[in-house]
Amino acid sequence: MSHARRPHLSRRRFLADCGVGIGRIGALSLLAQSAIGGSPRPQGPHFAPRAKAVIHLFMGGAPSQLELFDNKPTLTRFEGKPLPASILGDQRYAFIRPDAAVLGPQFAFARHGQCGAELGAPLRHLAQVADELCIVRSMHTDQFNHAPAQLLLNSGFAQPGRPSMGSWAVYGLGAESKELPAFVVMSTGNGLSAGSALWSSGFLPPAHTGVRLRNGKDPILDLSTPERFAGAMQDDTFALLAQLDGRRAEALGDPAIAARIRSFEMAARLQTSAPELLDLAGEGQATLNLYGCDPGEPSFARACLLARRLVERGVRFVDVFHEGWDAHSDVKGNVSEKCEQTDRACAALVLDLKRRGMLDDTLVVWGGEFGRTPMVETNPSLGRSLGRDHHPQAFTTWMAGGGARRGHSHGATDDFGFHVVEDPVHVHDLQATILHLLGFDHERLTFRHAGRDYRLTDLSGRVVRQLLA
C-alpha cells in the first residue's frame, strides 16, 4: 500500500519515532501506531550501506572543469581557432555559436598526492587531500540550461515536481536524529536557478522535504519565539497546549491529535537543538582556521563546518548550495573568486571528517549541473568576453569518503575536453552510485505515484563499480 493513497500516514514522519512524554497520550499514540499497522518506518537499506550520511556540495551555475580538473593543453594550441567540425556535431548552445573559437585553460595544472591527481592551480587546498578524492572527469548530462540541469542533478528529472536526492535518501533511510531534521539544506551563494524545487519532496510525503538552515538570525523558519512570548511564557504555552490537546485527544479518540502533540514537542526540542548546533564556540580556533570560517558570518565555510556538525548529530543528508559559477564572461576571474570562497572549506571538510573518523561513513559529493565549453564566449552586445558557455557533454564531479574509491581519477574526455571518450558517467549513474553507497538498489527504491513506480534515476542509471572503494 503506497503512501500516496494514505496521505495521513505522513503525519508521523518528520523526526521518526520519538519518545512521548505524557502518559495517556503515549498510550494513545501507541494505539495510533498499531492502527497504522503498515508502519511509518523507512524502507530500510537493501544491503549494508557504506555511508550513513551524505554532504552534497552543489556548485550551482556550473564550475569550469577546464580550469579546475580537466587539463587540456590542446586548447592552448588551438586558441583562437574554431573546433574541428568532427568534434562539434550539431550541438545547440545557449549563448555562443558553434563556430566560436577555442579558449585555452586559464590556469596551470599540477599533479598532487600519491595518486597524482591533476588539479588546476586555484584548487590549492583541495590538492592537499587529493588522495582522498574520487574524481570523475567523465560526467555528462542531458540539459544545457541551469534550472532543468540543476533539477536533473538534484532530483533525477529536468522538470520540477520530483523528489530530491535528499528526500529519496531520507525516505529510504529514515531519520537518526530525534533533535534535528533528517535532511537539511543550506545556500550560501547567489539565488538558485531552480529554487526550492531542488530540495522538494515532490510526491513523497511532505515531511521528507529538506529543511532550510537559513543564513539569517532565524536559522530555521520561524524558529525563534518572539521576545514578547519567550522564556517562561513559551514554556507555559507548550504546557497549555499539551494539556488542552491531551484532553481533546482523550475526548475524541483521534490519533492525529497525538501526532500533533508530538510535533509541538519536537518543535520545542528544535528550539534548543538548532541554536546548539549553530553555536560554534566549542569548535576551537584551529578548526575555525582550517575551514577559514568566521563563526559570526554566514559563508560557504561556515556551512561546511555546520554540515559536519549536522552529520555528527545524526542528520542523513545535507545539501550545501553555492550558486555563482556561471562564467559566461571572464572565466578566469570567476573561478578565482569562487575558489577563494570554497576551496579551503571543501578541503577542510574532507580533512576534518577524516580526523574525526567520520569520513569512512560520510560521503561528500562536489559538483555542478554541467560543464563549460572549450570554446570562448565573447559577445560585445552583451558585454561579455573570455567566458565559457554551458556544456552538457562533459564535466567533473568528485566524491570523498563514504565508500568512494580513494585517490582515483575516473574517465576521460577528448583532447578538446568536448566529449567524454572513456567511462562516461551520466547524472543518473552518479545518483545510482550515491544510493548504492547508502545501501540502496536505485531500481528498487521506488514510490508509487500517478500510476507508476517512480525512482530517483527515472528510467536509467547504473552503479559505477569503479568508483567504489
Partner: protein, 976 residues
C-alpha cells in the same frame, strides 16, 4: 491496508454486486475480472505482459483475451523453479497464495475478461433498501456498506460542530460566535438547510472553492523556472471565483477554460477563462530554446487534461505506450494535437475605466509638452530659433517613399502575413526562435532605388505593443535585427553605404545597437529599440550606388540574440532620392503621416498641426532633464489589466503535431492527427479543441462525472470514493462505494452539472452530519474510515488556517479580486530564488486579504502555506498531501504574519476584558478560534494561563499570548 475487508474485494459495480449477492459460494465462482483479477495482473504482470509492445516479453499479453496456453500460465505462476517462476524473482514481485488462488479460479472459469470498470459508462444504480427512512440517496448507499461491514453510523454531530464544519468546508472561514449562535438557536426544522443555502450564496464560497480548482490549474503569479518573473494572470483567477459563485454549470465552466476563445461570439470573459492552460511555466533563462520549453508546456497540458477531466495518468504515455492502461503513445500525441493549434498572446482586459485613464494620461502628456513649449527655459526667441533649426534638419530627411510591394515573405517557423493594406504591412505570428530569418521578395521597382526604409511598427496584439515579438528573457516587445542582407536579381549582393535609425538602444552593456550594427556582417551585433515599446521606429539603408529601375530586390533579415527577438510588424519602402536618405520618425507618429508637415512653412499649418510639430520638437530637444522621458511614459501608459489567453490559429495554419520518440523534444517522428484514445470508446470524434472540451464534459466520456464527483467528495470527506483521485486507471484504487460513485456521477451529469447542488446534496446527508468522534471499535475495524461510520476530522489547508486567524483576530479584509497582494512573511524566504528578490509586505488592509489573493511565487512559495503542504503551482495537484511536522508548530507559534494577528487580537481582548471580565472574555476568545464554548476545566486552564502571564507582563501581552496559544490548538487547525 488494514480494513477487515479490502476495498478491492468489497468494491463492486452494481451489476457485479448483484451477481455476488445472488450467487452462492464465492470460492466456486469465477472471480470478478475487474475487481479481483485485474488488480493482481496490473500490479504483477502488465509491466512485461501488458499494453506496451516495446516492453512486452515473449509477445505475451495478459491485458486482453487471446492467450490460450492456460496450463502454461498456471504452471509458471505456481512453479518452484526460480528460472521458471512468474513473476521472475529479480523483479521483486511475488504472488501471494491467495492471489494465485484467484488466478487459478479465473483460469478454470475460462479467463473471462471485462473492460476496466471506469471505462464503462456509468448507469444510474438502484438505491439500496436499507430499511430506514433516508431521504438522501447518499445515506442509503453508505448505510448499506456499513451494514455489510458490521459497522454502525455515528450520531449526528452537535450543532456548533456542524456550524463550524459547514463554514469551513463551504467558505473556508470559521463562523463567528454570533453566526454559530444564530444557527444553534434556530430551532426550525429547516434551519440546517437554510444555513447551507445561505453559505452557498455567500460571496466567500467562490473564493474557497476556487482555491481547490487553482491547485488543479497549477495557478501562480510567476513564470517558474530560473528567472521566475511575475506574470499577470489574476483576471483568470477572478474569473474562476466568479464562475463558481455564479454556479456556472460545470460543462460550461470547463468548455470556457479549455476553449473559450473558440466559442461562437466569444466574450472577453470567455477568453480570460482560457488562462487555465496558460498556467504552464515559462522558462526565461538566457539561451534556452523556446520551442523546447513550449513542448514541455504542451506535455504539462496533456497530463493536466488527463488528470483533471479523465482521471488518467496520461503522462505515462508521453514516452511510451502506457504500461497499465490502454493509452498508446500515439494516443498521447493525439490528445496533444487538439491543444496544439493555439497561439499564446497576452490579452488586455477591456475596461472602459482603463481607457478613460489612458486618454487622460495622453491629455496630460500633451499638456505638459504644450506647457514646456510655453515655458521654454530661455527666451522665446532662442526657442523659436531652435525649433526652426530642428525643423530644417528634419525637413532635409523628408523624402518621397514608395511602398515596396512584398511579393513573397517567409520564415522557417513564423507565419509572415502581408496585410492587404495600402502599404503592404507585414505581420509575423507563430513560434519564434532564437534565430529567425525572414526572406522577402519585392516586386520590381518602377524607378531606380537609392535607399530602403524599414519601419518597425507598434501593434496592440504584440507583446507590450511591439514592434518586436520578444516574450521571455528580454524586454517584452523588443526586437534585435542582427543582420540585413539585400540582393538584387538572383544573387548579386547590394552594397549598403550607410545605415541610420530614428532611435537605438541596447538592453545589455554599453555596446551600441544601431542600424549600422545590422550591416556589419556580425550576427552578434544588431539594431534594437529597447526601452521604447509601442512606438514606431525607422531604419534607413542607403545603397552605395543606385539600383536600376526594374530590379527585383530580395531581402534577408536575421533576428535574434540569446532569446527570440524577431520583428512582429513592419513595412518596407524605397526611394530614388539623390544620395539616398536618412532615418526620420517623429515621436508618437504611429504611421509616419506627420512627416509631410515638416515640408510646410509655418503659415501653411493649422493650429493643431503646429502643435503636433512643437510637441515633437520639445520631446526631441536636449536640456529638459527627465521631462521627455516622463512624458513618453505618460503617453504609453498601459492601464489595462493584462492576462494570458489562448487564441486558436486560423484554419490551415495549425501546427503539425508529431509523436516524440521517448517523449523527447529532439526526437519528433510521424505526424499525429487529433484523436481520442480508442479505449475511451467515444461515440463521437471531436475535431478540434472546442469539440474535445465539449466531449470531456459530456456523458459520452465515461470518466467525466465520476472523476468530478469523486474529487468533490474528497473535499468533504478527506478521501475520495476512489482514493486515487488522479488515477482511475488499472493502477488506481477501485472505488470503495462503486454504486454511490456511479449514482452521484449520473445524478450530477444529468441534472444541470451544478456544483452547488452537488455540495448541497453532500452536506445535507446524514453521512456528512455525523459526529467525528472516533469510537475505539471503529478505529480498530476501519482505521482509514473508508466506510464512513464517522465524519473525518481534517487538518485545515494553510490558506484556510491563515484566513481563520484573520477572522478570529477580526482583521479579515473582504475585498474581492484584483492583482495579488503580499502579506508579511519571515525574512529570507524569497531570497533563495534567483536574483534574491526581496519580499516587501503590503501596507494597510492589503496584508489582511484572503489567502487566495497572496502573490504566489513558484520557486519560493509563501512560506506559511508551503509549510502546510500548499502546492507550488509547478504542476497539477489533484489532492494535497497532509503532513504534520514540527515546522508547522513553529509556524503557528512564531510566524510574523500570525504574530501580528495575535497582537491585534490580544489588544482587543485586553480591552474587552476590562468591560466584560476575564472569564467572559476567555470564553469569547476561545469561541472566536474554536467556535464551541470551552468547558469548565478548559476555562480553568485558560484562566490559569492568563493569570500567570499577567504576572509577567502587561494585559495586552498576556492576552496576545493567550490568542497565540489558542490558535496553536489542534482544534483550531482542524475541521471538526
Amino acid at each position: 491496508m488494514n480494513a477487515l475487508v479490502p476495498p478491492g474485494l468489497a468494491a463492486a459495480s452494481a451489476a457485479v454486486l448483484a451477481a455476488v449477492l445472488a450467487g452462492g459460494d464465492a470460492r466456486a465462482q469465477a472471480p470478478s475480472y475487474s475487481l479481483e483479477v485485474r488488480p493482481i495482473l496490473a500490479e504483477k504482470c502488465f509491466a512485461c505482459h501488458g499494453p506496451d509492445a516495446d516492453s512486452r516479453k515473449k509477445d505475451l499479453r495478459l491485458d486482453v483475451p487471446g492467450h490460450d496456453r492456460d496450463d502454461e500460465l498456471l504452471r509458471r505462476i505456481t512453479s518452484d523453479d526460480p528460472e521458471q517462476r512468474m513473476p521472475p524473482p529479480h523483479t521483486g514481485k511475488t504472488l501471494s497464495t491467495a492471489q494465485v488462488e484467484v488466478l487459478r479460479r479465473w483460469i478454470a472459469a475460462g479467463k473471462p475478461y471485462e473492460r476496466h470498470w471506469s471505462f464503462v459508462r456509468p448507469q444510474r444504480p438502484a438505491l439500496p433498501d436499507t430499511g430506514e427512512a433516508l431521504d438522501n440517496p447518499i445515506d442509503r448507499f453508505v448505510r448499506a456498506k456499513l451494514a455489510e461491514h458490521g459497522l454502525t453510523p455515528s450520531p449526528e454531530a452537535d450543532r456548533v460542530t456542524l456550524a463550524r464544519r459547514l463554514y469551513l468546508d463551504l467558505l473556508g472561514l470559521p463562523p463567528t460566535p454570533e453566526q454559530a449562535d444564530r444557527f444553534v438557536q434556530d430551532t426550525a426544522p429547516d434551519a440546517y438547510a437554510r444555513l447551507v443555502d445561505e453559505l452557498l450564496a455567500s460571496p466567500h464560497y467562490g473564493e474557497r472553492q476556487a482555491r481547490r480548482w487553482l491547485d488543479l490549474a497549477r495557478y501562480a503569479d510567476t513564470n517558474g523556472y530560473e528567472k521566475d518573473r511575475p506574470r499577470s494572470i489574476w483576471p483568470y483567477r477572478d474569473w474562476v471565483v466568479n464562475a463558481l459563485d455564479a454556479d456556472m454549470p460545470y460543462d460550461a465552466f470547463v468548455v470556457r477554460q479549455l476553449a473559450g476563445d473558440m466559442l461562437p461570439d466569444a466574450t472577453d470573459d470567455d477568453r480570460i477563462a482560457t488562462g487555465f492552460h496558460r498556467n504552464t511555466m515559462l522558462n526565461e533563462e538566457g539561451g534556452i530554446d523556446p520551442l523546447e520549453f513550449r513542448f514541455h508546456a504542451m506535455t504539462d497540458r496533456v497530463a493536466t487534461t488527463g488528470a483533471v477531466f479523465l482521471g488518467l495518468t496520461l503522462g505515462c504515455a508521453q514516452c511510451h505506450t502506457h504500461k497499465f492502461d490502454p493509452i498508446t503513445h500515439r494516443d498521447y500525441y493525439g490528445l496533444m494535437a487538439y491543444l496544439d493549434d493555439a497561439d499564446e498572446p497576452d490579452f488586455a482586459v477591456p475596461d472602459a475605466a482603463a481607457e478613460q485613464r489612458e486618454r487622460e494620461c495622453r491629455r496630460q502628456a500633451q499638456q505638459r509638452l504644450d506647457s514646456l513649449w510655453r515655458q521654454w527655459p530661455a527666451t522665446a526667441g532662442a526657442r523659436d530659433e531652435r525649433f526652426a533649426a530642428w525643423r530644417d534638419d528634419n525637413r532635409r530627411k523628408v523624402v518621397d517613399w514608395q511602398p515596396a510591394r512584398v511579393q513573397a515573405a517567409s520564415s522557417e517557423q513564423l507565419t509572415l502575413e502581408v496585410l492587404g493594406d495600402a502599404r503592404d504591412t507585414v505581420r509575423a505570428s507563430g513560434d519564434t526562435t532564437k534565430h529567425d530569418v525572414y526572406t522577402l521578395h519585392l516586386a520590381p521597382s518602377p524607378g531606380p532605388i537609392t535607399a530602403l526604409r524599414l519601419e518597425a511598427l507598434p501593434d496592440p496584439t504584440l507583446p507590450s505593443g511591439g514592434p518586436g515579438l520578444t516574450y521571455y528573457e528580454g524586454r517584452h516587445g523588443d526586437f534585435f535585427l542582427s543582420e540585413l542582407r539585400v540582393c538584387s536579381g538572383d544573387s548579386e549582393a547590394v552594397a549598403i553605404a550607410r545605415a541610420t535609425e530614428s532611435y537605438a538602444d541596447n538592453q545589455y552593456g554599453s555596446q551600441p545597437a544601431r542600424a549600422a550594427e545590422a550591416i556589419d556582417g556580425d550576427l552578434q551585433t544588431g539594431w534594437s529599440t529597447h526601452g521604447r515599446n509601442g512606438e514606431r521606429h525607422v531604419a534607413v539603408f542607403a545603397f552605395a550606388a543606385p539600383i536600376a529601375a526594374g530590379a527585383a530586390l530580395a531581402l534577408e533579415l536575421h533576428f535574434g540574440r540569446h532569446f527570440a527577438s524577431s520583428l512582429g510588424r513592419f513595412r518596407l519602402s524605397v526611394t530614388d532620392a539623390a544620395g539616398g536618405a536618412d532615418a526620420l520618425a517623429l515621436p508618437f507618429d504611429d504611421d509616419g503621416g506627420q512627416e509631410q508637415l515638416l515640408r510646410r512653412e509655418e503659415n501653411e499649418l493649422d493650429e493643431a498641426q503646429r502643435a503636433l510639430l512643437r510637441r515633437a520638437f520639445v520631446l526631441q530637444t536636449d536640456g529638459l532633464g527627465d521631462e521627455p522621458a516622463e512624458i513618453r511614459r505618460l503617453w504609453r501608459r498601459d492601464e489595462h489589466a493584462s492576462t494570458l489567453v489562448l487564441r486558436e490559429r486560423p484554419a490551415g495554419r495549425g501546427r503539425v503535431t508529431r509523436r516524440h520518440h521517448r517523449g523527447e523534444f529532439l526526437q519528433p517522428r510521424e505526424e499525429v492527427e487529433p484523436h481520442l484514445p480508442a479505449a475511451l470508446d467515444a461515440t463521437v470524434a471531436p475535431r478540434d479543441r472546442l469539440e474535445l472540451a465539449r466531449w470531456l464534459v459530456s456523458p459520452d466520456n465515461p470518466l467525466a462525472g465520476r472523476v468530478l464527483v469523486n474529487r468533490h467528495w474528497a473535499m468533504f470527506f478527506g478521501r475520495g470514493l476512489v482514493s486515487t483521485p488522479g488515477d482511475f486507471g488499472a493502477q488506481g484504487a477501485p472505488p470503495s462505494h462503486p454504486a454511490l460513485l456511479d449514482w452521484l456521477a449520473v445524478e450530477f451529469m444529468t441534472s444541470g452539472q451544478s456544483l452547488k447542488q452537488l455540495h448541497r446534496l453532500i452536506v445535507t446527508s446524514r453521512t456528512y452530519r455525523q459526529s467525528s468522534r472516533v469510537r475505539p471499535q471503529d478505529l480498530a475495524r476501519d482505521p482509514d474510515n473508508v466506510w464512513l461510520a464517522r465524519a473525518p476530522r481534517l487538518r485545515l489547508d494553510g490558506e484556510v488556517l491563515r484566513d481563520a486567524a484573520l477572522v478570529a483576530a477580526g482583521k479579515l479584509c473582504e475585498r474581492r479580486g484584483g492583482p495579488p497582494v503580499r502579506p508579511p512573511q519571515p525574512a529570507g524566504v524569497t531570497e533563495v530564488a534567483i536574483g534574491k528578490p526581496k519580499w516587501s509586505a503590503d501596507d494597510g488592509d492589503a496584508r489582511f486579504r484572503r489567502s487566495l489573493y497572496t502573490f504566489q511565487k513558484r520557486t519560493a512559495p509563501f512560506a506559511f502555506y508551503a509549510t502546510f503542504d500548499a502546492p507550488s503551482g509547478e504542476s497539477c495537484v489533484v489532492q494535497r498531501q497532509v503532513s504534520d511536522t514540527p515546522l508547522q508548530a513553529l509556524a503557528l507559534l512564531n510566524d510574523p504574519m500570525l504574530v501580528e494577528l495575535y497582537e491585534a487580537f490580544g489588544g482587543e481582548l485586553a480591552t474587552r476584558a476590562e468591560r466584560h471580565g476575564v472569564d467572559a472574555t476567555l470564553t469569547h476568545a476561545f469561541r472566536r478560534v474554536c467556535t464551541r464554548t470551552p468547558d469548565g476545566d478548559e476555562l480553568a486552564a485558560l484562566r490559569d494561563f492568563l493569570h500567570r502571564q499577567r504576572e509577567r507582563s502587561d494585559a495586552a501581552t498576556a492576552w496576545s499570548a493567550l490568542a497565540r496559544a489558542l490558535t496553536c490548538l489542534d482544534e483550531a487547525t482542524t475541521r471538526p
